[in-house]
């Protein structure tokens, strides 16, 4: 199971600046990985390229090989659920039978139970984020890219959700986009630090602590990873 980016070149429509230039990277095996880098560096762009959702007008070259992967989902924090159902009805409508139990656990853990009967437009921002993420998690996928999907959720809830994801999907690939370096260092297996095209290689790999709920990372270990990430970016 891997995704292989080969010599990716990418420019957005109407612009001449390359977001990616001859960029290659290989994501191997399952795991909870991060896409990290300063705002505007190209995380969303890369995520969309991987998910095959890049803009039609953009110019793209290079190739992406996949092995053992058929469904790649991309979710982002601005997504909305239609307002005609309550959150619970929405969940039910898109939940395959096999994921019922998982759905229940996710709703519980994410703290959405009290607002499960509300319409989407009546949720707080973080509640909206979580509702959206959950409906993706109960789908069938091999790779899930979460573009700031938990950016507006408090840290305690976020940790619960991430740990649940890690335990429930041990054999899937996640690409988690976040600006929180502590979180990325602590939870992710591999951190793909994206850098401006001037710096080569454009994607640098840092290994994270990959916390799964058992043993909290020591302060030193975490700081070391964070420093590595900072140096890389």
């Amino acid at each position: 199971m891997h995704i292989n980016l080969n010599a990716i070149d990418f420019r957005h429509g109407k612009t001449d600046t390359r977001v990616f230039e001859n960029t290659s990277y290989r994501i191997d095996g399952p795991g909870f990985n991060a896409l990290f880098g300063p705002s505007g560096v190209g995380k969303t762009t890369l995520a969309k390229i991987i998910a095959g959702k890049a803009d039609h007008n953009s110019r793209f070259s290079g190739s992406i090989d996949k092995e053992g992967i058929s469904v790649i989902l991309y979710t982002y924090n601005l997504e909305r659920l239609p307002n005609w159902y309550s959150i619970e009805e929405h969940f039910r409508a898109v939940c395959p039978a096999s994921a019922k139990k998982l759905l229940n656990e996710l709703t519980e853990i994410s703290g959405l139970k009290p607002v499960i009967n509300s319409r989407f437009s009546r949720l707080s921002l973080g509640q909206q984020n979580r509702a959206n993420l959950i409906r993706y998690l109960i789908q069938d996928f091999d790779v899930l890219i979460m573009d700031e999907s938990l950016a507006n959720v408090d840290e305690i809830t976020k940790q619960k959700i991430i740990l649940k994801i890690k335990s429930a999907f041990p054999d899937k690939i996640f690409l988690y986009i976040s600006h929180n370096v502590v979180e990325v260092a602590k939870f992710c297996k591999e951190i793909l630090v994206i850098r401006r095209p001037e710096r080569l290689p454009q994607i640098k790999k840092v290994s994270g602590f990959d916390f799964a709920g058992e043993r909290e990372p020591g302060q030193g270990r975490l700081e070391h990873i964070m420093l590595e990430i900072m140096n890389a970016s």
Binding site: K53, L73, T75, E79, R80, P82, N83, S121, Y136, Q139
Partner: protein, 254 residues
């Protein structure tokens, strides 16, 4: 709400009437060109009741025609908003048929449908559905990326879902358009009656027109205005209720 609508209509009507009388007296026109207030008043007293019955008759047909139009416009817009060849074909078909004046196609309609209520309804619907269609196609053709993304990505997008999403997203625009098109339904019915029927206020207008009887026409316009305001009010009121029920945030697009 209702009394406000009626009230506003009355102001407009009497403003128009006054303007007409001002033209009459300043140009010293005879009662034949523009009837005197006394004549309008006597026409009103004489015909108010029977015209009222006629207007209500027209209103009923208009309401029926309006419903048909909404269904028709929805159906055509749904197909026409699809980006495939059939969609664009249906759209062009709908547009082209619209470009034909009803009077020109009326003979064909009568040949095919006879001259009962069905022709009348068809003409009403043909006149009324197009303004709806335009808005509907506009709304149904425009993706709501942030909502549709999920269904597209997960392969759960059905033929019908984008329509539903775009409909919900634009519900207040659509309600505005639908309630506003009530007046087009009314005018469509009147035109249908003008061409085809022997009942309804359109038919009475036609007779008055042949007799150059502007006084009667003015009475008819008054009643048409009242009926239209009434229907408009009912639709706007229902629209507000629907929006409340569907829990559409008052603030607009969230």
């Amino acid at each position: 709400m209702l009394h406000k609508r009626i009230y506003q209509f009355l102001i407009i009507y009497f403003l128009g009437l006054s303007a007409l009388f001002i033209v009459k007296y300043s140009l010293e026109l005879s009662d034949y060109v523009i009837p005197s207030p006394a004549e309008v008043w006597s026409a009103a007293r004489q015909y108010f009741f029977s015209f009222f019955i006629n207007s209500v008759n027209t209103l009923c047909v208009a309401i029926l025609g309006h419903m048909i139009s909404i269904c028709l416009a929805t159906a055509v817009a749904i197909i026409g908003s699809k980006t495939n060849w059939i969609g664009s074909f249906i759209k062009i078909g709908a547009y082209n048929i619209q470009a034909y004046p009803i009077v020109a196609v009326a003979p064909i309609i009568f040949i095919l449908f006879g001259d009962g209520l069905s022709s009348r309804l068809l003409i009403t619907a043909m006149i009324c559905y197009f303004p709806l269609l335009l808005s509907f196609i506009g709304v149904f053709s425009e993706p709501v990326a942030h909502i549709e993304h999920f269904y597209n990505s997960t392969g759960q997008m059905t033929w019908w879902l984008p329509i539903k999403i775009r409909l919900f997203e634009n519900i207040s625009k659509l309600i505005t358009v639908i309630s506003g098109s009530a007046t087009v339904a009314m005018v469509g019915t009147i035109v249908a009656e003008f061409i085809a029927a022997d009942a309804g206020i359109g038919y009475r207008i036609r007779i008055a027109l042949y007799q150059s009887d502007l006084a009667k026409i003015l009475v008819a316009l008054f009643l048409i205005g009242i009926c239209t305001s009434l229907y408009l009010f009912v639709l706007e009121y229902s629209g507000t209720r629907i929006k409340k029920k569907l829990d559409i945030p008052a603030e607009g697009s969230q």
